[in-house]
Symmetry: C2
Subunit: 460 residues, 2 copies
């Protein structure tokens, strides 16, 4: 029956696509050159890049598409050899999950109440959340959370919970916070107070206190950075809580959200590091799944004390679940990637990876310092901050992130000593040219990374 119907569908009088005004344009621009010409044009490399324009009205052969993808994979492999500036672990292997590419998986709704969208991975998601609940020391029944599309969604959720608890609360966040925090304040129409930072990048609690006292009439919603974007600095939760108390804020007058992007899941593995735990008076934490664990697609974990979610939660009949997340449809693949990575690495494996990253970061710091380059590495951090290379094309080649006078390398699992050596050697060599063989002096970076780390003529 199917076949008959399909065939008849082809001959019924549904308008041909080229008869519609909108689509005739798409076909028109494309009807002139021959198919051979188009194919040749697309295969042809312009500046080493294949043309990707979707110009044909008839379907491309799979062979041709595969050719473009193969070329693209080649360029990615090239780029991976110089990928230093972003906190994303590129060392993973999810080949075993390739069969899942055949399904659209969707965890719409509340992971704990499931949904009618049968092709979901909520069971995997709940296990991932349980793992993080153990990591951050919060009991079953006391937390709620979900796998997000990344750190920003986690921040969107955590800060929203804060605002719903304190509708007239003020959002405090340090000037070194991720750019998403300031955007979120705008989106949510929240008063946002920017707090100064120490040279390390950590929130300055002296400044925080002055600001808190100046706005004593309104509750405080505090975003803390467990790893700032640029310097990998960790805001001191205990000191912030103490500052709140000293400024006259009782525990029912503030809400602390932790943006744990990279370090939120690494610090618990480092003995002397400050604890990231719900035993402290924090209300929500988020981390990025694609950062330390590594994941093809951006994702993250948001965890909050369960009492906060009622403000957003709505029963949604159409999915037979609750709408309590920021995005509605959510990737079912992301939780499986995380589940797989957590299982495959194991706790010992993770600890080893963290050790290696920290060791290699210290190696990079030492090598740069030895070469007379101003460099800073915060404790419990794998983000090595240094003098910004004078030539941006060098920074782009090595995928460095920069801000004003400084640049950084984030030493993730794929950043080997060999890779670092290649980078260091080229940096030193190029720098000699930029500085005209020492006719020019290194810049003063005392304000950026501290006098003790600066190699300018005054401080070195």
């Amino acid at each position: 029956m199917e076949n008959t119907l399909e065939k008849s569908a082809m001959s019924i009088s549904i308008p041909k696509v080229h008869e519609t005004e909108q689509l005739s344009k798409m076909l028109g621009s494309n009807a002139k050159p021959s198919r051979e010409y188009e194919e040749q044009r697309e295969i042809q490399e312009n500046n080493g890049q294949m043309s990707l324009a979707i110009t044909e009205c008839i379907e491309k052969t799979q062979v041709k598409l595969a050719e473009i993808i193969t070329h693209y994979v080649g360029t990615l492999n090239e780029k991976k050899l110089h990928f230093l500036g972003y906190p994303t672990n590129q060392d993973f292997d999810y080949d075993a999950l390739a069969p899942l590419l055949n399904f659209h998986l969707n965890n719409a709704g509340d992971p704990f109440s499931g949904s009618n969208f049968g092709l979901n991975s909520s069971n995997f998601e709940c296990c991932v959340l349980e793992w993080f609940a153990n990591l951050w020391e919060i009991n079953k029944g006391e937390y709620w959370g979900y796998v997000t599309t990344g750190g920003t969604e986690g921040n969107l959720h955590g800060i929203l919970m804060g605002r719903e608890k304190f509708p007239n609360g003020i959002l405090y966040t340090s000037q070194d916070s991720h750019y998403s925090i300031f955007k979120i304040a705008q989106m949510y129409r929240m008063q946002c107070v920017t707090v100064g930072t120490l040279v390390s990048g950590e929130i300055d609690c002296v400044d925080l206190k002055a600001l808190l006292v100046g706005h004593r009439d309104k509750p405080a919603i505090i975003n803390l950075n467990i790893g700032t974007t640029m310097k990998g600095a960790v805001d001191d939760i205990d000191l912030v809580v103490q500052t709140l108390e000293n400024s006259g804020f009782s525990h029912d007058q503030f809400y602390i959200h932790c943006d744990g992007a990279l370090f939120g899941m690494m610090l618990p593995f480092l003995k002397q590091a400050p604890g990231i735990t719900f035993k402290k008076p924090i209300e929500s934490i988020t981390i990025s799944g694609h950062k330390f664990l590594g994941c093809p697609i951006p994702c993250g974990v948001l965890m909050t004390r369960i009492e906060h979610i009622n403000s957003l939660s709505r029963d949604v009949e159409v999915i037979a679940s609750k709408d309590v997340t920021i995005t509605g449809s959510r990737s079912g693949h992301a939780p499986i990637f995380l589940w797989y990575a957590l299982n495959k690495k194991g706790l010992i494996g993770m600890e080893n990876e963290i050790q290696k990253c920290m060791m290699n970061a210290r190696y990079l710091r030492d090598q740069l310092r030895d070469a007379g380059i101003g460099t800073m590495l915060n404790e419990f951090s794998c983000t090595v901050v240094f003098e910004r290379p004078l030539d941006d094309s060098f920074s782009r080649k090595w995928n460095l992130a920069w801000k004003k006078n400084i640049a950084h390398v984030v030493v993730m699992q794929h950043v080997t000593i060999e890779l670092l050596n290649n980078f260091i050697n080229e940096f030193i060599q190029k720098r000699r040219i930029w500085f005209q063989n020492e006719l020019r002096n290194p810049p003063c970076l005392a304000d950026d990374i501290g006098a003790e780390n600066c190699t300018c003529i005054l401080h070195y």
Copy 2:
């Protein structure tokens, strides 16, 4: 050198993971049962489901993980045989893209200005956007857009642009809108006015006019549904614009966003369907990429007139790009999936798929009607709405979505006549039992789907 350092890292005095308080608990709970016991417990199926708990402190063997995934893929294939109620095309083949699973790709920032995150697919993304710009008839240089994490993010962006243009504007949306719209109004602290709908699900412009006139003092931000979630109804853009004009709103006093979830990209292929085009006074459109095109992960496309984005745009040095999207880090895979699907299908292929979905939807409607089941199918829609099955477990088995008295099937590409026949036969058979062999009468659905579609004793 690498090896030496790695080895020495293993023996330096970084604390053992089990020495930390937080992690000792994770290990502790797990130290008691033997590994054999744990393995057995996990392999063992409980109610047909493997335990997925992440309980081991040492890494699981890949073989074992692969076993769990294989089992899971089996259950997904089972579920796919009954997947009828959600508008997600499950008929796709992205095997050629499997090599991309080895990279974390991230399109952080503005796709048009690129970013320093070298492992991106912005070129693919721009081509996808160009394709949609052609579809929706807006010239290069006049649009801006990006590939989102799904329809909700597109709505978040479109409505934010509206609010930033009209800070005191009122959001109007019909009661049949997707649940995300009402959540967004709460998030953005916008006054939201809910407009009634016709029986078809389409926005009721008589009600809209009354509401507009009642709030004449404030600009109007209108969300239109190009395909409502439950009934697949298409709001009439032209009639809404006319209603705005008739209510005394000049064109600089309103902002129209179109939630085109499923139909926003299908309608342009249907000759008699109302045009979805930027030639009309609309400001932004969003569609879901995983709906019609099909994609493993949720994604979407947001397109807006370029003049709106300045309100959100911020230069972000750390990624050497502009922050102008809702999420910051964005999937680099999603645009490639969309690019691949658009290329592989081609315009003719897409038209054929749409024809087939429409045909099969009509087939389902006719078969249900012939069986005396109240059924509605809107014009230009593949969402077949019918009497809600009395047994929710039947609905769950077939992944139907329901709301109050009605349920629906969305006839996507994977929904074959054979699949429909299986569903119809079981529905009719079960319904006979629920209705005790016609001792009980069908419910009246005149208010839900119209008297002409109702099969109750009064209307049939």
